[in-house]
């Protein structure tokens, strides 16, 4: 008799014969128990036949039992202790029967989704538009002041495209005027620099603003995010650690680290290019007083606190005490403000720890157009009226086709003026509603039948196959039938 058994050359552990005998007994018992079921067979021999047949499999022989793998012999009873069920765990997780949420994007489900999104977004957009509308903002571009503004005592109107304003009043009359003059300015307490262009802007605010009122300068086309620029600073130096000239030279300030054996303090491209226009607080020139005459009143905006992040304070420290001023130099762009272009006791290096404007500058902007807070007034409203602002305009922007502007603005919960936000919300919401409507209409006119058979790919294939004649079974396209 051919036995289907392992042609397995490996010697197998011989099982104890006693164990085998017991198994056999168990098995025999089972077999007898099973016998009555065969009673249906009328043949008198069939009972024994069943029995014999079952017994037919294991046969005696030397070494025979060894070579039979237990799984090969279906009649061999399984060893109850040794063999445990290898059935995989029947849990919902293992068997991938976890309850699932399986929505289907049918026309019926898509249309409501669009409408819901639309209905949610439209009012949000409205609210945002309203919030933006409450912001009063005035923006004056004075980049060309040094060249285009009249160098007289009479202010001339500025080109209107330099002015942007948004107030509640329609078409507000800003009446921005400008002029320039050369002036002397005293830097750092004692050093006087002569012939600095001072730009005086005059404008009228139609409404009271704020509080708070924020004063920004805004630069365009200025790449504070330039790869080399953005990392060109030396944190230890800024922090106020004592650093050697060599350390500065090796630092990330490259390529602006030092001049000869003198290190720039602070080194790096960012510090060097710090925005150095100086803005005075706006002065209300037509403040109605008790008397008929109008008086000037400075709307004081402070610029030494609360304009930089609190956390930035930790980054900047003073020059370590006892630093030899001969070992450091102001960055090239700063040198104009220092006598002989050097630090000295008279014109000491800047106190970075308290120089919030420096901190603001050092926090590099993400985009080439940016606004940086210069000063603010959180307590008083900026009354409607005509203001003068004096600007020491030293920062060159026209060279690189950039602009600089002042921005005076109030705030809303959303920050500054940002009408697009609201508009976009409305647009997205509106788009959804339109889409929803389109879907509804097309669905009503020409509904796609759910589960339409013509879409089933094998039908398509079989159609093709039928057309092209030969090709065997309908769905054989990918099995080499289309072999060239």
């Amino acid at each position: 008799m051919a036995r289907r058994s392992l042609p397995n050359p490996k010697p197998r552990a011989v099982k104890g014969t006693r164990g085998r005998r017991r198994e056999l007994d168990i098995y025999l018992a089972d077999d007898h128990a099973a016998e009555p079921h065969s009673g249906a067979a009328p043949s008198p021999t069939s009972g024994t036949a069943t029995h014999r047949d079952n017994m037919a499999e294991p046969s005696p022989g030397v070494g025979h039992t060894d070579s039979i793998d237990s799984r090969d012999d279906p009649n061999k009873p399984v060893d109850k202790k040794k063999k445990k069920s290898r059935r995989p765990a029947n849990t919902a997780f293992r068997q991938q029967r976890l309850k699932a949420w399986q929505p289907i994007l049918t026309p019926k489900t898509v249309i409501p989704i669009f409408f819901v999104i639309g209905i949610i977004f439209a009012p949000i957009g409205g609210a945002l538009l309203y919030a933006s509308a409450t912001v009063k903002e005035l923006q004056i571009d004075y980049s060309t002041c040094n060249t285009d503004a009249p160098n007289t005592t009479d202010s001339q109107p500025m080109p209107t495209d330099l002015i942007k304003a948004s107030f509640k009043t329609d078409k507000p009359a800003i009446n921005a005027l400008w002029r320039r003059e050369l002036t002397n300015h005293t830097y750092h307490g004692s050093y006087v620099v002569e012939n600095i262009t001072k730009c005086i802007l005059t404008f009228t605010t139609p409404e009271d603003m704020g509080p708070p009122v924020l004063f920004f300068y805004r630069l365009t086309n200025f790449y504070q995010n330039h790869r080399r620029y953005v990392s060109s600073f030396y944190d230890k130096q800024l922090k106020g650690d004592s650093v050697s000239v060599q350390a500065v030279k090796d630092s990330s300030c490259s390529p602006l680290t030092s001049d000869g054996d003198k290190a720039y303090y602070p080194c790096g491209l960012i510090a060097n290019s710090m925005f150095n226009d100086t803005f005075a607080s706006p002065v209300l020139t037509n403040k109605p007083s008790l008397t008929e005459t109008k008086v000037n009143e400075t709307y004081v905006m402070q610029n030494s606190s609360n304009i930089a992040w609190d956390s930035d304070n930790a980054l900047y420290g003073n020059l370590p005490a006892g630093t030899d001023y001969d070992t450091i130099l102001p960055p090239p762009n700063w040198q104009k403000q220092y006598k002989d272009g050097k630090y000295s006791t008279d014109s000491p290096p800047p106190d970075l720890n308290n120089n919030q404007q420096f901190m603001v500058w050092m926090r590099t902007a993400g985009l080439p157009t940016f606004s940086k807070l210069y000063m603010r007034n959180d307590s008083h409203a900026m009354e409607a009226g005509t203001y003068d602002i004096e600007i020491l305009s030293e920062f060159p922007t026209t060279e690189y086709q950039g602009t600089k502007s002042i921005v005076i603005t109030t705030t809303s919960p959303m920050g500054g003026k940002n009408p697009f936000l609201g508009i976009l919300y409305v647009v997205v919401g509106g788009l959804c509603i339109v889409l929803g409507a389109v879907f509804t209409v097309t669905h009503l006119i020409k509904p796609r039948k759910l589960g339409d058979h013509t879409y089933l790919s094998w039908n398509k294939v079989s159609n093709n196959a039928a057309k092209s004649g030969p090709g065997g079974p309908a769905i054989g396209m990918s099995t080499g039938r289309d072999l060239a």
Binding site: D53, N90, V110, F420, W458, N459, T479, G480
Partner: protein, 1415 residues
């Protein structure tokens, strides 16, 4: 050359008139000959008549030549070949001095020396007798300790992605170029590669261990000087000594001194004389010297070699046999064996033996190969001729096993390549932009300093390199582990053999979803290799033998009980789930209680799996016995008894009476065993078979007592594959001499007394059968053309209904859908099967029996006694029955007998004796002698044996076919057997056209070409090509034949390959891989002979738990039952394919979204390479915030229910058409990514950019939107199967992002810094408190989600895919129906269900679903 005239090869691909015209006149000849059909499944190959103009094959040849040339001219292949040649020449030959061995002059000369070889090993002639023969040590491990590292490093870095990351890592390590750290890439890469290498190393170590076990198996070798025992140490030696003693006792050589030593296989040498005991495996190829079987026959099981289940009888060459039957003789024997050089051919052997100047040839009949097992023979002695790697089985083994790669890998590699190019393009483009910007701006920008081109370029390369994330590979491994974990399906657990599905590899999980060819072994894979006597036809009446149907059921039941009882005793959880089973619905489509109970009622029915609709005789053999007992003297009863006697006597089985009185049989083939058992069932128990007699225990006709009758066996003319019959000459108890013969109908038929009448009837029947077949075929063709119309109309009806009611009447709607789906699926399932109604018309009238057989005395009506004496009618009926049996896939045998005169016998006896003792052409002369008495037979009857298929095989094959998978059967078995099984397994349909390619039957090329043309015409309903190993080897040698052959077989619906050697099987698989590169092949088998095929295929499946473990061990996946293939492919394969595809797409997509934002930002920083994102967050983007969103869908996604996938196998084509991951899809996802990235960046840029205080806040907002969007899209929009896992994943990822922000902002990990990314406190105190930041983010998110939703909705609603439609159908409530249909193929309709149900009833509960389902 005009393309249209490229003839046959391209005919079916170039449609059009010219071909039709060309084919038409060929058809006339082939069509006619096709209808002349052999009696059974005879080859119906149309042999082209000679007057037909010869096909002009020149064109074909040139086509083939071009094909070959093209293959050769592949540059890469050429390079590789050149490299290999160089390697061979320089490294192997020059350096290692290993030359390929030249063939020897005239084979290896092996002297038969008495143990002499143990002292001086023989030298190999081929080395000029300088070196000994190769040792018997085998090595299947791929690496050695030394070659492991270099080979593995090469292998690892030949993976494109790994190589890419290596380059990036090196770039990163060059100081000053990287902006993202120095060792980040290499630090991730090294552990990952180390793990992969360790895994490979472990696998190889396991192989090494297995080799070691095999190499150290023991065998006893003639070793008079005991050279071997010194090598064994200590305890082992003692044990061996014990064994030795017992062996010595058994030793019939009766030698006083024990000359046999036990030694390890690996120490065996050529020339050794080995001694084998029953059931031992052969350690090497040997020439048989002596065996103790009857007449010196040794029975050999060669299943591991060729898959054949028959035991083969091998006999020592008479020259040797008489000189080697004792030790003394052996010692004196001075023989020399000359053996052919080692080669791969399993089916031929040439050699000779010379003893005392007498030479005889050695053939296959005297040689036993390694891997076979000695059966039913106590001892055998042999001379080792081939050892180790030179054994036939090792030569056949697949040596160069390439590591299997998922098919998707190729595409992934292409995309990686594309992305590398894309990164380079981005980098170069942006560097150029930077140059332009520099020239326009920088010289004016007094505050800036230029960055060098080199830095910019490499900076960009490093910035965008993560477009191909390293996590792609790492996470891929993770999801595959997860998929593997979920692959442990209870429904693929076989309770009977307690075998779960086992996965040996994770790499190619997704390949399971793309298979288009299944190469299946037959024995043990499709069949259980249990032969069951199923039907018999005697005196014109067909009877069903169902006793063993019941017996099988009982046995199965009992075994299941055993396992279950045990399961309960040691598994508490399972008991608990038993209790809860009643409350919680078990979601398993495999259970179908209702059906089970129904089948239980009619437990004795048996349906053919090949033709389930075929009417079955209602008479069973119990009634036959009853009738014979009641009316023993009627003509019918006499014939029946005579027939049963034939069955009981005409065989070569040996009974063994056991201690408890039961009788066990030893048979050379399971068929014979089945026959003998059937005879036993029918009252003829074989109790003894001495050498010259047969003793039968017969039920006495009246008393019912057992009578022993002894029949003297005079002669046996044995079965051979050429004769296809065996005869036995018996002296009956009454003294008459009778010759009984059984054999194939085509052999018996011409030898009948009334041969002429019989032939006439047979051709009548065959004409009818042909008619029926052609009608069926026409109908099948018609059905196929109707298929399109008859599709899912019903669903349309249902859905329109749904729209009509608008869900007002929900239950109605769902039931309408269910009904619709139900009928549609019914239609598809029975597509290729005939409705029973049509059947009767074309069948000869069966005996229509009275409706009921309630009482015994009604038996009269059921037998037509008049028929029993009408020979013509008997013939007609009998042949009709045989034809029916055969088409049901049963193996038929005809029995015939003849009484002969003593005189006649005496004269014949003389001739026969001469033949058997003759030394030259013995076989032929025996055959001739046999012919002499095998004539003028009376027909006794016919039997039909079922080669029992495994449960659910035909249904599975049907479903595989519906899934557009071609099923090929490659077997080592005989052609007839193979065709029979093909029928019962429904690889062949009743109306299939079989094209048998046989090199022995004339022009191979012409028959192939004509077949090709016929198939090409498309008028063949179902074509099956049958080819055998011999023909295949001829085809393989000729390039032109090969080209035509593969062109033919890919067009045929199925291919059956019989008598194929393991290497041929593997070759066939390889050739299909080459011929149809787009296809994915799956090989499934159970034995050692399938290993090569399993390794050669894309996916190798082993059947475990039955035959042996070799295949299961070496395979990629092993399952216990063929039918689990359904679940493995349709459900898990598809899911895993879908998951992996989605994972890859999603991974590339998310990187694209993320880095495109980065790219857009570059425009705003002068194209200098400043990163939009802060580097710490950037570094963990892939791992912390967007890992689960690709991994979890990669593990848990299910687009459709398992039930749907099983019920609608057509959905499987999804993977075959590469729909989850293809270039089109990749591009579509990328386009979406770019658009979405633009939407996100633009919104954030416009609304927040100016207002942001620093780059960090701005970048973080983009980052936030991207992270939430990626997670939302992948978890919510893309994942269909949203479970709590999904929710948790989403929360972890999105929550993780905010936790991360809080962490870097609030904790002390990040120090305060200046620069672009002031992280510290920024989220907690800075932008995190700005409403604008949040509101902008929300808007950007909403905008992309709406966009995504809109696109998806449009696509789904207006361009739905198959799975979308089925999702809708599932949604509409067709789940129940789908489950039912999923179950139809899975549960065996007959016995298995019954047994299950019976058990279920008895136990009264279900062991938590799985066990019941798996039967």
């Amino acid at each position: 050359m005009d393309r249209r005239h490229v003839p046959v090869a391209s005919t079916s691909s170039h449609g059009g008139k010219s071909r039709a015209h060309h084919l038409e006149h060929v058809r006339t000849s082939s069509g006619a000959s096709r209808f002349v059909r052999g009696h059974k499944q005879q080859p119906s190959v149309s042999v082209t008549s000679t007057d037909e103009p010869r096909f002009n094959l020149d064109n074909y040849r040139s086509w083939a030549r071009r094909q070959r040339k093209r293959a050769r001219e592949n540059t890469w292949a050429r390079l590789e070949n050149a490299f290999n040649a160089c390697y061979q020449k320089w490294i192997i030959e020059r350096l290692l001095r290993q030359y390929p061995l030249p063939p020897s002059k005239d084979g290896r000369h092996i002297p038969l020396t008495y143990g002499h070889v143990r002292e001086t090993p023989l030298k190999d002639d081929r080395t000029g007798s300088t070196k000994p023969f190769c040792s018997n040590f085998i090595r299947s491990s791929r690496y050695t300790v030394w070659s492991f590292l270099p080979k593995q490093l090469y292998f690892q870095f030949s993976k494109l992605a790994n190589f890419y990351f290596l380059i990036i890592a090196i770039l990163q390590a060059i100081p000053g170029l990287s902006t993202t750290g120095t060792y980040t890439t290499i630090a991730t890469l090294i552990p990952f590669i180390a793990i992969s290498m360790a895994k490979e190393g472990y696998d190889d170590y396991r192989r090494y261990q297995l080799d070691k076990r095999e190499n150290r198996s023991m065998v006893s070798v003639l070793d008079p000087k005991h050279t071997a025992s010194g090598k064994l140490k200590g305890k082992k030696r003692r044990e061996n000594a014990d064994v030795e003693m017992s062996m010595a006792e058994l030793d019939d050589f009766n030698s006083p001194a024990n000359v046999w030593s036990k030694m390890q296989w690996q120490d065996l040498r050529v020339g050794d004389i080995v001694r084998l005991y029953r059931d031992e495996s052969l350690p090497a190829d040997i020439v048989l010297l002596h065996a103790t079987g009857p007449e010196g026959v040794a029975y050999i099981e060669t299943m591991a070699l060729d898959g054949e289940t028959n035991l083969k009888s091998k006999q020592a060459c008479p020259l040797l046999a008489k000189r080697c039957d004792s030790l003394a003789k052996l010692r004196a024997c001075n023989a020399q064996v000359v053996s052919e050089d080692p080669n791969i051919d399993l089916y031929s052997y040439e050699g000779r033996v010379t003893v005392d100047n007498e030479t005889m040839p050695l053939t296959l009949n005297e040689v036993v190969y390694r891997g076979s097992i000695l059966r039913n023979t106590t001892h055998a002695t042999g001379l080792v001729i081939n050892t180790g790697e030179e054994c036939k089985i090792r030569m056949n083994a697949n040596k160069e096993i390439r590591a299997k790669m998922p098919a998707m890998q190729r595409k992934i590699n292409h995309i990686v390549l594309f992305l590398v190019a894309f990164v380079a393009f981005l980098a170069v483009g942006m560097t150029t932009a930077n140059e332009v910007w520099k020239s326009r701006y920088l010289h004016k920008g007094w505050y800036l300093k230029a960055v060098s081109v080199k830095e910019i370029l490499i900076g960009y390369i490093i910035m965008f390199n993560t477009l191909i994330p390293l996590s792609l590979i790492v996470s891929l491994e993770i999801i595959k582990l997860g998929q593997l974990f979920l692959l442990q399906d209870v429904e693929m657990y076989d309770a009977e053999s307690n075998t779960p599905m086992v996965a040996n590899t994770t790499t190619i999980l997704e390949n399971l979803g793309q298979v288009s060819y299944v190469f299946s072994d037959k024995t043990g894979t499709l069949t259980e290799n249990k032969m069951r006597f199923r039907k018999l036809s005697v005196a014109g009446t067909a009877w069903l033998h169902d006793m063993d149907v019941k017996r099988d059921d009982l046995e199965r039941e009992r075994r299941l009980q055993l396992i279950k009882g045990k399961g309960k005793s040691n598994n508490v959880t399972s008991t608990m789930s038993v209790e809860s089973a009643s409350t919680e619905p078990i979601k398993t489509p495999l259970i179908n209680h209702a059906k089970s109970f129904v089948t239980k009622q009619t437990s004795t029915t048996w349906t053919s799996t090949g033709r389930p609709s075929h009417a079955q005789p209602e008479l069973n053999t119990e009634k036959l016995l009853l009738y014979v007992y009641q009316k023993p003297d009627t003509a019918f009863s006499k014939k029946a008894k005579q027939f049963l006697l034939c069955v009981a006597l005409c065989h070569t089985c040996l009974p063994e009476t056991k201690a408890d009185g039961t009788v066990e049989f030893q048979a050379a083939s399971p068929d014979e065993l089945a026959l003998v058992k059937a005879a036993q069932d029918l009252g003829y128990l074989l109790v003894d078979r001495a050498t010259q007699s047969v003793t039968l225990q017969v039920k006495g006709p009246e008393s019912g007592l057992d009578l022993n009758e002894t029949y003297e066996v005079l002669d046996v003319v044995e079965f051979s594959s050429k004769r296809k019959r065996m005869s036995i000459v018996i002296r009956m108890p009454d003294g008459r001499i009778c010759v009984f013969c059984k054999g194939a109908d085509s052999m018996i038929l011409p030898r009948l007394k009334l041969a002429h009448l019989a032939m006439q009837k047979a051709s009548d029947i065959s004409r009818k059968a042909t008619l029926r077949k052609s009608v069926e075929a026409t109908r099948a063709l018609h059905r196929r053309s109707m298929q399109a119309q008859h599709s899912l109309d019903i669903v349309r009806a249902a859905s329109s209904k749904q729209h009509g009611f608008r869900g007002v009447n929900a239950p109605t709607r769902s039931s309408v859908v269910s009904d619709a789906v139900d009928s549609w699926l019914d239609h598809r399932e029975h597509d290729d099967l005939d409705e029973p109604g049509h059947e009767e018309v074309y069948q000869s009238p069966m005996v229509m029996s009275p409706a009921s057989f309630g009482h015994d005395h009604e038996l009269d009506g059921m037998i037509d006694e008049s028929l029993a004496s009408n020979d013509g009618a008997i013939f007609e009926r009998c042949f009709q029955h045989i034809d029916d049996f055969a088409s049901e896939g049963l193996r038929t045998l005809l029995f015939a007998y003849r009484y002969m005169e003593d005189k006649e016998y005496a004269s014949w006896r003389k001739t026969y004796q001469e033949a058997t003792t003759c030394l030259v052409d013995r076989q032929q002369r025996i055959e001739e002698a046999g012919e002499l008495i095998e004539r003028d037979f009376d027909l006794a009857g016919a039997t039909a044996i079922e080669d029992k298929l495994q449960a659910g095989v035909p249904e599975t094959i049907d479903k595989l076919r519906r899934a557009s998978i071609k099923v090929w059967m490659l077997t080592g078995d005989k052609r007839e057997t193979a065709i029979n099984i093909a029928h019962s397994a429904r690889i062949c349909k009743p109306f299939s056209e079989l094209y048998v390619l046989d090199a022995l039957k004339g022009e191979l090329q012409e028959s192939m070409v004509s077949t090709l043309i016929e198939i090409g015409r498309g008028m063949v309903a179902h074509s099956v090509v049958v080819v055998d190993g011999h023909t295949l080897s001829i085809i393989e040698e000729d390039e032109t034949l090969k080209a035509i052959f593969f062109d033919l077989v890919v067009r045929a619906d199925s291919v059956i390959c019989c008598r194929a050697s393991p290497s041929q099987k593997a070759n066939l698989v390889k050739c299909i891989r080459d011929t149809v590169p787009s296809s994915l092949t799956l090989a499934i088998g159970d034995g050692a002979n399938d290993i090569a095929m399993i390794q050669a295929s894309h996916v190798g499946i082993g059947i475990s738990g039955r035959e042996g473990l070799q295949a299961a061990r070496i395979s990629d996946y092993s399952i216990a039952q063929f039918r689990f293939l359904q679940r493995l492919l349709f459900v898990h394969g598809r899911w895993n394919y879908l998951r992996t595809g989605k994972y890859v797409l999603a991974t590339f997509w998310k990187e694209m979204v993320f880095y495109m934002a980065q790219a857009q930002f570059q425009r705003w920083n002068g194209w200098t390479g400043t990163s939009l994102f802060e580097s710490a967050s950037l570094a963990v983007f892939n791992t912390l915030f967007t890992s689960l969103c690709v991994i979890l869908p990669g593990i848990f996604e299910k687009d459709l229910d398992a039930a749907t996938l099983l019920a609608v196998p057509e959905l499987y084509t999804y993977g075959q058409r590469n729909e989850a991951f293809n270039y089109k899809k990749y591009i579509a996802w990328n386009v979406m990514a770019i658009i979405e990235s633009i939407i996100i960046y633009t919104i954030v840029h416009c609304l927040y950019g100016d207002s942001s205080h620093d780059l960090f806040a701005f970048g973080q907002l983009v980052f936030t939107v991207v992270v939430i969007f990626i997670n939302t899209k992948l978890f919510v929009l893309e994942m269909h199967h949203k479970t709590t896992v999904t929710l948790i994943g989403w929360l972890l990822m999105v929550g993780g992002w905010f936790v991360w922000n809080l962490f870097i902002s609030g904790s002390g990990v990040m120090k305060h810094t200046a620069g672009p990314y002031p992280v510290k406190d920024n989220f907690t105190h800075g932008f995190g408190r700005h409403a604008l930041w949040w509101v902008t983010g929300f808007l950007a998110l909403a905008a992309v989600v709406v966009f995504e939703l809109c696109v998806t909705a449009l696509r789904r609603v207006y361009f739905p895919k198959d799975q979308d439609l089925w999702q809708e159908i599932e949604h509409l409530g067709a789940g129940k129906v789908l489950e039912e249909h999923a179950a139809t193929g899975d549960v065996e309709r007959g016995g298995a269900t019954q047994a299950q149900a019976g058990e279920g009833v008895k136990l009264g509960k279900i062991d938590s679903g799985g066990t019941v389902a798996s039967a």
